[in-house]
């Protein structure tokens, strides 16, 4: 008696799951297929689903339209800001996890609230300051500004990670006469590597995706890939295939990283609001 009912509800669930999957994935399917179309095919109305694919768009955007250098800029900026955030953030996270001091909660709150500050608030003052300092259109300006979101992420995730390491380890090392730095560096940091890895991936994703700072602070030499993609939209003849090829090149690395850190992505986006 119960079996058919259950089976029917399983089918219903299966269909729902399929719809959820299609809802999420279809735009990516369309992005990739459009990137393989020539402009003539892309401008067929109604759009075609079957056609002879070509890699010409990729060739053109990478080597003619300078998306290649922009991707390299993106990599440089994202990797450097992530490394810097880990270097600065892990000792701070360790201190927040292990030491007691006055104003700890306030400090913690301040780190986290950076999540809520819109980049548009900081972009113009930084634009003026970087002009004065000769940092306009450099990787360094972007690397430093991206710390406003990468550093809080690293601190938040790694503090949690350090808390999960038993304090007895620290205490035993302390009895052996190890310095606080030594304990952090040689005992706790290696054990906290999963947290470091997750927060690095998240920092990389968020830096890679950033547009507003890049658009305002790095108009030419240090232009990142998302800012490059925006410039294709200027002008009347919109090159769909090329735009989607650029988009695919931008999105594929982050999607791979997102899948690797899939369990933690939500944690990173909520910054402690949800466990």
């Amino acid at each position: 008696m119960a079996a058919p009912i259950q089976r029917r509800s399983l089918w219903g669930e299966g269909v729902l799951l399929l719809l959820i999957g299609l809802f999420c994935v279809f735009p990516f399917y369309w992005m990739v297929t459009t990137s393989l179309k020539t402009q003539v095919v892309a401008l067929e109305s109604p759009p075609v689903w079957w056609f002879t694919p070509t890699l010409a768009n990729y060739w053109e955007v990478l080597f003619v339209d300078k998306v290649g250098p922009a991707l390299i800029n993106s990599i440089i900026v994202a990797v450097c800001t992530t490394a810097l955030a880990v270097g600065l953030g892990t000792p701070a996270a360790y201190a927040l996890a292990r030491f007691e001091f006055r104003g700890k909660t306030d400090l913690w709150f301040w780190f986290i609230t950076n999540r809520f500050v819109s980049p548009v608030v900081l972009a113009f003052p930084v634009f003026l300051i970087s002009r004065e300092l000769g940092l306009r259109d450099t990787h360094l300006a972007l690397i430093l500004m991206y710390l406003t979101f990468t550093l809080p992420i690293v601190i938040w995730i790694c503090t949690d990670q350090f808390r999960s390491i038993p304090r007895e380890l620290d205490e035993a090392a302390m009895l052996e006469g190890a310095s606080q730095w030594r304990i952090f560096r040689s005992i706790c940091l290696p054990l906290a590597m999963p947290g470091v890895a997750v927060s690095s991936i998240l920092s990389f994703i968020f830096s890679w995706n950033e547009l507003l700072f890049a658009y305002i602070l790095a108009p030419k030499a240090a232009k990142t890939a998302p800012a490059m993609a925006v410039t294709f939209m200027e002008g009347y003849d919109v090159p769909y295939g090329k735009i989607m090829a650029t988009s695919t090149l931008i999105v594929v690395p982050v999607l791979i990283f997102a899948l690797l850190a899939s369990k933690h992505l939500v944690r990173g986006l909520t910054m402690g609001a949800v466990k």
Partner: protein, 292 residues
């Protein structure tokens, strides 16, 4: 027990991070406050002068600013309830036992939209929503709906932004709520399911109380992110047609970067920041009282 650590050690561990965030996070903010008290236009640098609160007065009485604010609010009011409803539905489906493999796959696909470069999401909208060449209009044609000019018409462009916001952030809401559902102790959930056949009763009286922290988090984060929203509408419509999709961050970018009026943009962004803070505090007070 806690360690007795000299202050110097604590300062050495925390100092670099605090200094870095102060330089990149607080210094520009203070500079923005200072600039917001000036008339400061990049194309008219000779006329630069201290004007006190004049910019703030101008922003607070500027209909364009409040229209952009209203548009941002409208996007939030329309999109977020839909995201919560759909997200809750998805979370409830994924929370049920069985079909584990397919649920893992669905969960992985849910991760993709929120990780996608926001600028690319806007570009995708351009391609998929085009009146003549767009696949969405082709699909609407299959069910007998005439092609819609999504990007070119003010109302439709706004609807398109809402749709795209729903696409990108419903999965996020679903995963946050799913995490919330897993905080319900299984004994309680199973006991409730033995008591009643109605899923609705279980949801309302057993699961919902555990979901409140997640819902508060969703509301706070969606508020902050909607006020920040720039990349997607910018690459999709540049705030147009007219000013139909000029949300608050897009407006500030236009005033600062395309009209070069940095003093005014600074005043606008400080007011926007104040609104963000007030709203976040309001949510926490409204919802957490119930939990306490």
């Amino acid at each position: 027990m806690s360690f007795r650590v000299p202050r110097r050690t604590i300062a050495a561990f925390l100092g670099p991070a605090v200094a870095a965030l102060a330089i990149v996070g607080i210094a520009p903010l203070l500079y923005a406050v200072w600039k917001s008290l000036h008339y400061f236009n990049l194309t008219k640098l000779a006329q630069q002068r201290f004007v006190g609160l004049e910019n703030y007065g101008a922003v607070l009485t500027d209909p364009v600013f409040w229209q952009a604010m209203g548009r941002t609010g409208l996007l939030f009011i329309i999109a977020v309830p839909i995201q919560i409803a759909l997200g809750l539905l998805i979370a409830l489906v994924l929370h049920r036992p069985g079909l584990t493999f397919w649920k893992t796959l669905a969960r992985l696909s849910l991760v993709l939209p929120m990780a996608t470069t926001y600028a690319v999401v806007g570009l995708l909208a351009q391609v998929m929503l085009n009146q003549k060449y767009g696949v969405i209009n082709q699909m609407l044609g299959w069910i007998g709906v005439d092609a819609i000019n999504f990007i070119g018409d003010p109302t439709n462009a706004f609807i398109a932004v809402v749709m795209w916001d729903i696409w990108q952030w419903t999965p996020f809401v679903a995963l946050v709520l799913l995490a919330g559902l897993s905080t319900v102790p299984p004994e309680i959930e199973e006991a409730a399911k033995l008591e009643t056949k109605s899923n609705w009763t279980v949801l309302r009286y057993v699961q919902l109380p555990f979901l409140i922290p997640s819902l508060v988090a969703v509301l706070i984060l969606r508020t902050a992110d909607t006020l920040k929203l720039f990349d997607m509408p910018f690459t999709m419509t540049r705030g147009g047609p007219g000013s139909a999709t000029e949300f608050i961050a897009v407006l500030i970018e236009r005033v600062g970067n395309r009209q070069f009026d940095i003093g005014m943009a600074a005043a606008q962004s400080i007011i926007m920041l104040a609104i963000t803070i007030v709203l976040a505090r309001l949510y926490i007070r409204l919802f957490y009282r119930e939990v306490r």
